[in-house]
């Protein structure tokens, strides 16, 4: 049995390593296998070096951990036999990213923290975690993969720990989260006696797992020490890995509060409340805003406002004369667009069965113009921007093909010059490569439009 498993495993790794060996370059491609600390979590002696564990029994008992350990051995065997740079990157607990704080709410730790809102308590553990944000891990793995490191094992965990009760819990309190700090056994008891409905009380889903870990008096958990010197020497990002702080913790909490931790006292399945939705097709002249908007409007039966029709006569004269618009002209224009969109959305809500979505085409070249349009959010409207992107050459060709448009080709250069790409916080933007075949672009935009608005072309057709 053990042999059969090993040979099958070897076959799979063999195929991948073969691919690296076939590289038609002076050296084979390097091979980077992401393993898990669970492969060595039962290490005796408390210290985990950056090498294969001395005993196979050092892995956790579950199949997941054992399969990782088997593959670690395959990698090191390949390195020895072929000279390939095969690296085992042993990753520990990964947490949300440092920019947006996005962390899957259904994982064990997020569920433990969510217990603050459902049972009003978080256990006061005596643990020193070595968590790493997911973006730090990703940068670390890329650093090492692109480095000149030879084959070998590296531990991808934080080299600086923090204390669960002395550091994490105060950071949680600082976000305004209210909860009691209780002993681990009491916490499991409270969870066991709490609402069994996982919709209202998600942490109950992992009751068995939490009980196996914490329903005991074994409060002293010294944890393992990991050597990380090799990993840090090849990765500047791991060497500078951030340690958990109030800022990071508040990003996670904000993320969960705005997504999954919403109050649902009735315990009913989540019913999407239909919020009015403004979809802006943005991009310079020639990027195909109107064509795409027309396609969407017909397919999804959604009203479409052509932003260009809302320019004041004075602005139109300016543009016809090849004169650029001033910011004052633009603010007035954006304000008109918002008003028109809002009025249209109001009208849509009066129609029966109408899911109120409205499309607006508007260049929205600068971040501040988008920020201005985004203010409609304050009136309870959800906004999504599709920014249509392509090179200047493509835009010029398309403009030259047009007849009777007020925009001059020369003005296009001015538009592209002031064009500002999406900022890191502008997560309501979906960029679209419009340099491709029109059919492909429309298909992609259709699918994404369906994703964000929840409106389906099919259901509309049935209604007809």
């Amino acid at each position: 049995m053990a042999f059969r498993i090993l040979t099958t495993a070897l076959l799979g790794a063999h195929n991948l390593i073969n691919l690296c060996l076939k590289a038609k370059r002076p050296a084979p491609a390097n091979f980077n296998f992401c393993s898990s600390v669970s492969a060595v979590a039962a290490t005796k002696g408390g210290f985990v070096p950056e090498e294969l564990p001395a005993e196979l029994s050092y892995s956790q008992g579950m199949g997941y951990a054992r399969s990782k350990l088997v593959t670690e051995h395959i990698c090191m065997l390949a390195a020895k036999k072929t000279g390939i740079s095969a690296r085992v990157l042993r990753v520990g607990q990964v947490i949300g990213d440092t920019v947006h704080g996005i962390w899957n709410e259904n994982e064990a730790i997020p569920l433990m923290l969510q217990a603050a809102t459902t049972i009003g308590a978080i256990p006061a553990l005596d643990e020193n975690p070595l968590w790493l944000p997911v973006d730090t891990v990703a940068h670390g793995i890329t650093d090492i993969s692109l480095s000149n490191a030879g084959g070998g094992v590296m531990n991808i965990v934080n080299h600086q720990s923090f204390h669960w009760t002395r550091d994490l819990l105060p950071a949680l309190h600082a976000t305004g989260l209210e909860f009691e700090e209780v002993g681990q056994k009491e916490w499991v008891d409270r969870l066991r006696n709490s609402n069994p409905n996982p919709v209202v009380n998600p942490p109950i889903k992992l009751l068995e797992f939490f009980a196996s870990k914490y329903d005991n008096n074994n409060t002293k958990r010294p944890g393992l020490t990991y050597d990380t010197r090799k990993a840090r020497s090849f990765s500047p990002n791991l060497a500078d890995a951030p340690i958990l702080n109030n800022d990071l913790v508040s990003k996670f909490i904000q993320h969960w509060k705005s997504t999954s931790w919403t109050a649902n006292p009735a315990g009913k399945a989540h019913v999407a409340t239909r919020q009015p939705h403004l979809v802006v097709l943005a991009g310079p002249c020639g990027s195909g805003k109107s064509t795409l908007a027309q396609g969407l409007a017909e397919k999804f039966h959604v009203p479409w406002i052509e932003g260009d029709n809302l320019h004041s006569p004075a602005s139109l004269t300016k543009m016809t004369n090849g004169e650029a618009l001033s910011d004052t002209d633009r603010w007035a224009w954006l304000s008109k667009i918002k008003d028109a969109a809002f009025v249209q959305l109001k009208m849509e809500t009066f129609k029966s069965n109408a899911q109120d979505v409205v499309i607006v085409t508007c260049s929205a070249l600068k971040a501040e113009y988008r920020a201005d349009l985004r203010k409609i959010v304050e009136q309870g409207v959800v906004v999504t921007f599709f920014t249509l992107q392509t090179g200047l050459a493509t835009l010029k060709t398309r403009m030259a093909e047009r007849v009777g448009h007020y925009m001059k080709v020369e003005m296009l250069e001015g538009q592209v010059e002031i064009l500002e790409g999406p900022g890191v916080k502008e997560t309501d933007i979906i960029p679209v490569d419009v340099g491709r075949e029109r059919v492909l672009v429309q298909r992609e935009v259709d699918a994404l439009f369906e994703d964000v608005t929840g409106r389906s072309a099919k259901s509309w057709q049935v209604q007809v």
Binding site: I5, T8, A9, L11, G12, A13, N15, L16, N18, L19, C20, K22, A23, K24, R25, A29, N30, F31, N32, F33, C34, S36, M62, G63, Y64, R66, S67, K68, V70, T71, D97, V99, H100, I102, I141, T142, S145, L146, Q389, T390, G421, P422, G423, V424, E426, T427, D428, I429, I430, P431, D433, E444, A447, L448, D451
Partner: protein, 83 residues
């Protein structure tokens, strides 16, 4: 579309520049196959240009036994290659 949806769910897509997005190629594959489930031309192109391979796809199911990982993970499912 799966790649776009996955990147969007993590807020990684909106500010990825056009040139960076153009480098992403997703190929349905099967690691259990000697040619990874790719057609000959694709396999030959990948193998001639590859410089680095990151194997980071794995089933996260703690209830499975070791045997279950043979085909899905160790034999493989996804390929993430950097050119």
């Amino acid at each position: 579309m799966r790649v776009i949806r996955s990147l969007r769910a993590r807020s990684l897509y909106h500010d990825l520049p056009l040139t960076a997005r153009a480098k992403i190629v997703a190929l349905p594959s099967n690691f259990g196959d000697v040619r990874l489930g790719l057609d000959e031309e694709t396999y030959s192109r990948v193998s001639s240009e590859i410089t680095s391979l990151i194997h980071c796809a794995w089933s996260v199911n703690f209830n499975l036994g070791l045997g279950s990982f043979e085909t899905d993970c160790i034999a493989g499912k996804k390929l993430h290659a950097i050119f």
